[in-house]
């Protein structure tokens, strides 16, 4: 009688030996987060990714599951991020005529805006007394995760702190783009998408695809170009 009960209690630990539990929890939280999001009337300030992440963190903590064990199982999903990044090349191609029409503004805006995205944060953090390690973790905050990991390691920052900053940046960038668009009276999907991808990497790009395929394509472009540009420039600038 006590045997099966103790086996039941240790079930989260036993099951997390296989990635199925972590994957199941992630899928469950993803759908639950989206359902809650629709139920509470799609508020802009609380995107589904945050709802899902909070739910997932709560369930993982309640099950007494080790975060490392969860991460190992969920790694199977993270592997798909590579092919998914490649998939962004397809809307990019399909929207090429829009991009061609705007290549000049893109070329002018990108280096300035991508540099500013890092510099603003670095100057604020530095003036408030952040350590070099924290600065190195914040610098790639607008860059898509796979590239940002490489940059942070190169600069000597902390990857978990960087991932946290990345998420917060993605969410607030999504919010601020929606707010600022109304404020500056900008309704051009191409500009909104570009700003979403440039500042809010994958989170912003996911939001841009909700606006329209054109916005999504420009977000993919902004995300990709920012990633490439920042990866090349930041290590040079940071050591100055």
């Amino acid at each position: 009688m006590n045997d099966w009960y103790s086996r039941l209690l240790s079930l989260p630990e036993t099951l997390s030996a296989s990635p199925a539990l972590a994957i199941g929890l992630t899928f469950g939280a993803f759908f639950a987060g989206n359902a809650v999001f629709r139920r509470i009337g799609r508020p802009l300030w609380l995107p589904p990714v945050v709802l899902s992440a909070v739910l997932l963190a709560a369930v993982v903590a309640l099950l007494g599951m080790d975060y490392k064990a969860y991460q190992q199982g969920a790694h199977w999903l993270t592997v798909l991020l590579g092919p998914a990044t490649v998939a962004l090349g397809i809307p990019l191609y399909q929207q090429m005529h829009h991009i061609r029409a705007l290549w000049r503004p893109i070329l002018v805006t990108l280096p300035i805006a991508a540099t500013l995205a890092a510099v603003y944060a670095l100057v604020i953090a530095w003036s408030l007394g952040a350590t070099p390690e924290v600065l190195a973790s914040l610098a790639p905050k607008s860059v898509t995760a796979p590239i940002a990991i490489g940059i942070t390691q190169q600069l000597g920052g902390s990857v978990p702190l960087m991932m946290g900053g990345l998420l917060i940046t993605g969410v607030v960038a999504t919010l601020f783009v929606d707010l600022a668009a109304r404020w500056l009276a900008i309704s051009d999907d191409r500009i909104l998408g570009f700003a979403l991808g440039l500042n809010g990497h994958a989170v912003g790009t996911a939001r841009a695809f909700e606006i329209s395929p054109t916005a999504g394509a420009f977000a993919s472009l902004g995300m990709g170009l920012t990633g490439v540009f920042t990866a090349l420039i930041l290590p040079l600038v940071f050591h100055l």
Binding site: F30, V49, V54, L56, A57, A61, Y67, Q71, A74, H75, L80, P83, A84, T85, V86, A87, L88, G89, I90, Y93, M96, A101, L102, R104, P105, V108, T109, I112, A113, L116, A117, Y120, A121, I124, L128, T131, L138, K141, T144, A145, P146, S158, L161, M163, G164, L167, I168, T169, V177, D188, R190, I191, L192, A195, N199, F209, G216, G224, V228, L232
Partner: protein, 117 residues
């Protein structure tokens, strides 16, 4: 759709291989994305398989970044002591950079760079 998925994985592997061999400071995924766009532009068309596979993956992008996102809640103590600097940098910095991007881009577009809707 699986055929399309295979193409995506192959381009990703190609990007990874290029990155590892030539030590390019850009991730394999982004290299693969650029190769994919260039290939499609060269070919001038896209198969239904590839279109549906990419659409499927893009629609679950949020799902794929969630495991990394959840880490924030379990590494929150790393922010300890510096949380004010971190929060101010993330919120203030992102706010300023979003405004700059939108303002700059709409300005340049209006100056005549972006003809043709």
């Amino acid at each position: 759709m699986l055929r399309g998925f295979l193409v995506l994985v192959l381009f990703f592997l190609l990007g990874e291989a290029l990155q590892k061999v030539f030590l390019i400071p850009v991730s394999g995924g982004v290299l693969g994305m650029m190769l994919m766009t260039l290939t499609l532009m060269f070919k001038g068309g896209i198969s239904d398989d590839l279109a549906s596979a990419s659409q499927g993956l893009i629609s679950v992008l949020v799902l794929l970044i969630m495991p990394g996102v959840v880490g924030v809640f379990f590494t929150a103590d790393q922010f300890a002591g510096q949380w004010l600097a971190v929060a101010a940098a993330l919120l203030g910095g992102t706010f300023l950079s979003v405004l700059s991007t939108l303002w700059l881009m709409s300005r340049v577009v209006r100056l005549g760079g972006g003809k043709g809707e």
